[in-house]
């Protein structure tokens, strides 16, 4: 069901203003949440995580970019998010990828974070710790 729905998704034109971009973010979040039961079934995640925990993980991923105010950047991020969701629903990933990114991934410092408050020293420190 989620697979068929995502198959018809097309690339939308750029958002005209900030309000439309916000609306699209909520629409994407809603689509992702409705796909979670299928994801649980595909990857057999019932013994490691629940739907509500996955939903919190998705919302925290969206919150990482809460400071973005340019509609073009938001459209680009939504495109990447939809691509990721399509990869997950089409079973283009393995089970350990899902677990590593959305179940235990919250405990690891994300190298792609766009946090503006962290100092350069801490950024380099975190990077060297994992490379």
């Amino acid at each position: 069901m989620a697979n068929a729905a995502l198959r018809n998704v097309k690339v939308l034109p750029n958002s005209a203003n900030m309000e439309e971009a916000r609306h699209r973010v909520f629409q994407f979040f809603r689509t992702a949440c409705r796909s979670l039961p299928s994801v649980m079934e595909i990857y057999n995640l019932y013994d490691v995580v629940s739907v509500s925990e996955l939903r919190s993980s998705v919302s925290s991923q969206i919150r990482k970019n809460i400071h973005v105010t340019d509609p073009k950047v938001i459209d680009m991020l939504l495109f990447k998010g939809m691509e990721e969701l399509k990869n997950v629903v089409d079973h283009s990933k393995q089970r350990h990828h899902i677990i590593g990114q959305y179940v235990v991934g919250q405990q690891v410092q994300d190298s792609a974070t766009k946090d503006q408050g962290t100092s350069t020293f801490l950024k380099n420190f975190y990077n060297t710790n994992y490379f």
Partner: protein
């Protein structure tokens, strides 16, 4: 020998035809019975749906369930004040939190909240009322 085999062949198709016609009669009669049952059932469902529409006000257990989900979603302490008139924004929830609460309510009650419905939700009472209406619509449709 040839004449004996011809007579035996002639008997078999007549038997098959008779059994087919009898089976057809049974099927048509059973279909009629089913249709009669459907006709009888539709009227009570219409009446019950009318009663459900009149009672759109949310029940206390639904409001309590909604409060529990909101409390869990926003990680509120148990002693915090959560009344049906409490606004989500007053609890420190932003717009994404509100959408997440609506998705949690969808999962809990097995319903699908449309976009226009979820945009109007800002208090616990409104969420409970919408859920009650959707649950009754779903049960009425089935």
């Amino acid at each position: 020998m040839a004449s004996v085999s011809a007579t035996s062949l002639s008997f078999q198709p007549s038997l098959k035809l008779s059994t087919r016609t009898s089976q057809g009669c049974y099927k048509t009669s059973s279909l009629e019975v089913v249709s009669v049952g459907w006709n009888r059932r539709t009227f009570p469902s219409l009446r019950s749906s009318r009663f459900c529409i009149c009672a759109v006000k949310a029940q206390p257990e639904t409001v309590q369930k909604v409060c529990n989900i909101v409390r869990k979603q926003l990680a509120l302490p148990a002693e915090s004040e959560l009344t049906p008139d409490t606004k989500f924004s007053a609890l420190g929830a932003d717009s994404l939190d509100t959408v997440e609460i609506v998705m949690g309510l969808e999962e809990e009650f097995g319903i699908t909240v449309e976009e226009d419905g979820s945009q109007n939700i800002s208090t616990v009472q409104e969420a409970a009322d919408l859920i009650e209406k959707l649950v009754q619509d779903k049960s009425g449709a089935s």
